[in-house]
Symmetry: C2
Subunit: 139 residues, 2 copies
């Protein structure tokens, strides 16, 4: 059997996911672990959202998101706005501290990436971004 492109992608994805998880699990940048960073990032880029919507976005149980957002609220990075139309619902919004912490984290992540991609050509960087985006669209 010939090794086609998809087989190569499968193998590389395995390596990639393993290393990425190893590099980011249980390692915080400042006060944010990976889950917290992604939550703040989501709210920051896609606007305030409730527990249910976030749970669907991340494909995690509502209870998990409920606890994670409660923790971030406790730390002062999020605050909850009661939904004026629905007394059961809230939407989570970033506080200034949350915005700042997110920016710090993003900075650190960009620095890390920049270091890793320093030998790449600008064209390869762009292409990689495009293809990742294309790949994400297929999920």
């Amino acid at each position: 059997m010939t090794t086609n492109a998809i087989q190569i992608i499968e193998a590389e994805l395995g390596i990639f996911i393993r290393r990425f998880i190893a590099a980011t699990t249980n390692k915080k940048v400042g006060n944010l672990d990976r889950a917290a960073y992604l939550l703040l990032h989501q709210i920051s880029t896609h606007g305030s959202a409730g527990v249910k919507a976030l749970a669907e976005e991340f494909q995690l149980d509502i209870s998990t998101i409920s606890r994670q957002t409660a923790a971030l609220e406790q730390k002062g990075y999020l605050y909850r706005i009661p939904d004026p139309q629905d007394g059961r619902a809230y939407s989570m919004q970033l506080t200034d501290a949350g915005t700042e912490e997110l920016a710090l984290n993003k900075q650190a992540r960009l620095a890390y990436l920049t270091k890793h991609l320093q030998d790449w050509t600008e064209e390869d960087q762009q292409r990689f971004g495009e293809l990742l985006n294309k790949f994400n669209d297929t999920f």
Copy 2:
């Protein structure tokens, strides 16, 4: 601040990792979860190895790998060969059942990927594989 390629990569990696984890965590193909698949895959492609070497490769604690390999041995997918030079050491090798189970899993993963990448040009697929490989090399 302009959005350069690295910023795009950072954002896409965040989305990617979230979806990939959601799609593969706690979801088994047959009898193998992600960790088990990666372990068998590693042994299959890089040859038999001991607990310590595997732990280093995956950047997990030795105790974690010890338990995972014990579980796979229990299921009959691995067997251990005592190191003839070192009475403390073993190396893990795939059994026929392990090889078969791994092949089934790989098949399923390839089918999944193929479905997702069916609209991609052959060239984009190849490029994505190359860039992923290049990225993995920088870890």
